[in-house]
Assembly symmetry: C2
Homo-oligomer: 470 residues x 2
């Protein structure tokens, strides 16, 4: 079976057989297909698509390109969760110990953040001493004792995915539902879980921009899970606004502790309870929701989190004293300069601002500063008074704060020439770099406005002054 | 301008700007774009297409990736011809000296054969001593003295095309009208001609299978030529059947000499006259057709061919005595075993059989045996008697003859189960490897038949006996 013939078949829109897809994955893993043939095939798959059966075969071939884990007598209760990624998405840190406290077994393997979305591993590493690189044997021991662990993917898990993902990143072949599904599911299926809950984020700040796209991805992943005998559920959750208040690394861990203590933002609390309950249910328990709520109220979730941190070498005292987390002490608050209804922050803008502060990465090899981040001070739809805080930026270096403010406005700026009738909307506004910025009524976007006859004309700012208003 | 962003734009169906396309071609030429990004872009171009303007820009960027030739005071009369390739297509060898004999200047650069189609360079090299590798200065001198030369493309011509073509070949990105057009035209435009005639072959034996596809390719190439100020004409010619009678290398040169002597098959003669006249007309002469006919009848075409061979180091005596060409002496004739109407030979089948005989190449690095080939003995629609020759194979080694016969039948075999009502068609048939093979009435295909109620049921032969019938 020649590579060029398989590429031609997919290019021409044919459905590939199991032997053909397996040849492609084995070619990638063994490096017998050169990168240029893999790249051509990936582009053909992106543009021609793959049906559910092809995608299931692709996933299976990727799973078996490496090691598959087996948790022995824990396996029947072993469940997993995966999020497609968002801003402020810290749910895994809460629901993993919470579900484990209720009897589920949660061998959680996570990834790092890239672009505007954060990653669980980076958040965990903000806990002093926390080791995300346990060996499989160490992890198994923690799992037996505590019911959960949270580590990075081992090198032996789905190596074909690592090779293909690196290539997709540089060949503009990331945005393909079959390829995304196979990439996610191959890793989760290799982790040896019998049940899986998928959090498919949808909205401007997510990978999937529309509910239709998110639903397509969810359906594809559910079909793959089922084809491999793994009970799979998917929940579509909104990612227009950051999830919760805290966005960053250490600051998100602090919010997780707050939630596990029974407090925290209602959206984070509600989603954590819901996802944890699904995991507990998939692990075979009745009355999952009640169990999870009891574990939250009774503090067993927090206690499991503490024990897991300790078992993985981290400082468990952060659970009682979150100030032990490395939090930046320099803070800049963006405040409302006119009272009104606050429309909320666009998630991607906040995520990109955090990257500029040093709290995220544009390239996989970049280092991350766990101490910086952002805290959303006003929620969408809230009525704010003049002087009320809208967003607090935790920063370490002044020039990075400047870059973050710049990116905030850049990402929020609507098209030049758009008109907003501010007489009707009664929006709150603020000023960044001497530019008045509004949150638009319809899109939740921020605009730079100039008074005009019919209201405010939005201008696309091309250059920014270096002067900052504090 | 990041490669991945340009790939994404084409992937999403956008029209690329001149700076973007130039960045792609420069990235290929300088090797600053790795092959996997070039491959992804090529697949995106193949599947998303390029409009006429993008293709013109692509061509121009490929032209200027290398040297462009200038023939000085000969330039106003310098004209070129290109064929998209076929079986038995020896027109260049005839029309180049013929047009030059009429005053046109024909600096002809050609390629080698690949797959079932032959190449002008291979045919020329069957002339003992003939050098296709003249330097530009040597070529210029021959052009001044004789009015034409026939050489291979120099390394300095359109290097971007060489890099992209090699990659297209192994990534299933050959069959794209914009990429084919840019590849052909970049080489022809770099050759410094002011007029260009394109022979776009159409049919089963050609790259373009339908007249619509061929017309699309022709229009695209004409638009590119015009955008560069080169008068460009295209002629669509049929490539269902081999062109003329001789197919191979030395055997085709012999047929060319026959035509230049005023004989030869009528199709080769007619097309040679037509194309030569177009070249002469584009070179600025009136009454081109009369001039060309006179040069053929008067022997000036043959004389120019002889002088060109001599100037390029070849043995000019082949013109008077074609037996000086290296022609294989072992011959096998396929004969009609039942009288009837002969439907003709499928060009691709004959081309593939010649490759098996050693007269063509499957891979660019394969060597070619100039002595072998095939001669079509019966023309389509001809009434043949039992025992009449249908095809003569010139071979050197018996096992290669076996392989050629095998491929002939394989390529001609229609789908298993097709029914041909031989009571109506009165087709001639023959036997290869003990299998009775017919030429089908509708598609000009050859079938293996077994008598049945309604006529003959065509069987797809799966295994062939090693016994040969001579």
């Amino acid at each position: 079976m020649r590579a060029v013939d398989l590429i031609r078949r997919k290019r021409d829109g044919h459905i590939l057989g199991a032997d053909e897809i397996t040849a492609f994955v084995q070619g990638a893993t063994s490096r017998s297909w050169p990168d240029y043939q893999l790249a051509a095939m990936l582009m053909a798959i992106l543009l021609r698509g793959m049906n559910a059966e092809e995608t299931a075969v692709l996933t299976r071939a990727m799973v078996f390109s490496g090691e598959t884990l087996d948790w022995g007598d824990l396996a029947p209760r072993a469940v997993g969760k995966h999020s497609t990624g968002g801003v402020g998405d810290k749910l895994s840190l809460i629901l993993t110990p919470l579900a484990a406290a209720c009897g589920a077994v949660v061998p959680k393997m996570s990834g790092r953040g890239l672009g505007h979305t954060g990653g669980t591993l980076d958040k965990l590493e903000s806990i002093p001493g926390f080791r995300i690189g346990l060996s499989v044997d160490e992890a198994r021991e923690v799992l037996k004792r505590i019911g959960c662990f949270m580590i990075g993917q081992t090198k032996t898990i789905a190596p074909a995915d690592k090779i293909l993902y690196a290539l997709r990143d540089v060949t503009a072949t990331v945005e393909s539902v079959p390829l995304i599904s196979a990439s996610i599911m191959s890793k989760k299926l290799a982790e040896g879980v019998g049940g899986l809950v998928l959090d498919v984020k949808v909205g401007d700040g997510a990978f999937m921009k529309t509910a239709d796209d998110a639903r397509t991805l969810a359906r594809m992943m559910i079909a793959i899970g089922k084809s491999q005998g793994v009970r799979t559920e998917a929940v579509l959750t909104a990612m227009e606004q950051p999830l919760g208040r805290a966005c960053g690394n250490a600051v998100e861990v602090a919010e997780c502790i707050e939630v596990l203590r029974g407090g925290g933002p209602s959206d984070v609390r509600e989603l954590s309870l819901d996802f944890a309950a699904r995991l507990v249910m998939l692990a075979g328990f009745d009355n999952a929701r009640q169990r999870v709520e009891a574990a939250l109220v009774g503090g067993q979730g927090l206690e499991t989190f503490r024990r897991m941190i300790e078992a993985q070498g981290g400082d468990p005292r952060v659970v009682d004293d979150p100030t032990r987390l490395p939090l930046a002490t320099s803070r800049h608050i963006i405040r409302a300069e006119r009272a009104g209804i606050f429309q909320g922050w666009k998630a991607e803008a906040v995520g990109r601002a955090i990257v500029r502060l040093g709290g995220g990465r544009d390239r996989a090899e970049d280092a991350v500063d766990h101490a910086v981040g952002a805290v959303v001070l006003a929620r969408p739809g809230e009525r704010v008074k003049t002087g009320d805080g809208l967003l607090e930026l935790l920063f370490r270096h002044e020039p990075r704060l400047g870059a973050a403010l710049e990116v905030l406005v850049k990402y929020l700026a609507p098209k030049s020439g758009d008109i907003v009738d501010t007489r009707k909307t009664g929006l709150a506004w603020t000023t960044i770099f001497n530019k008045r910025v509004f949150l638009l009524p319809h899109h939740g976007e921020m605009g730079i406005c100039r008074p005009g006859k019919r209201g405010m004309r939005i201008l696309l700012a091309r250059r920014w002054s270096n002067r900052r208003r504090r």
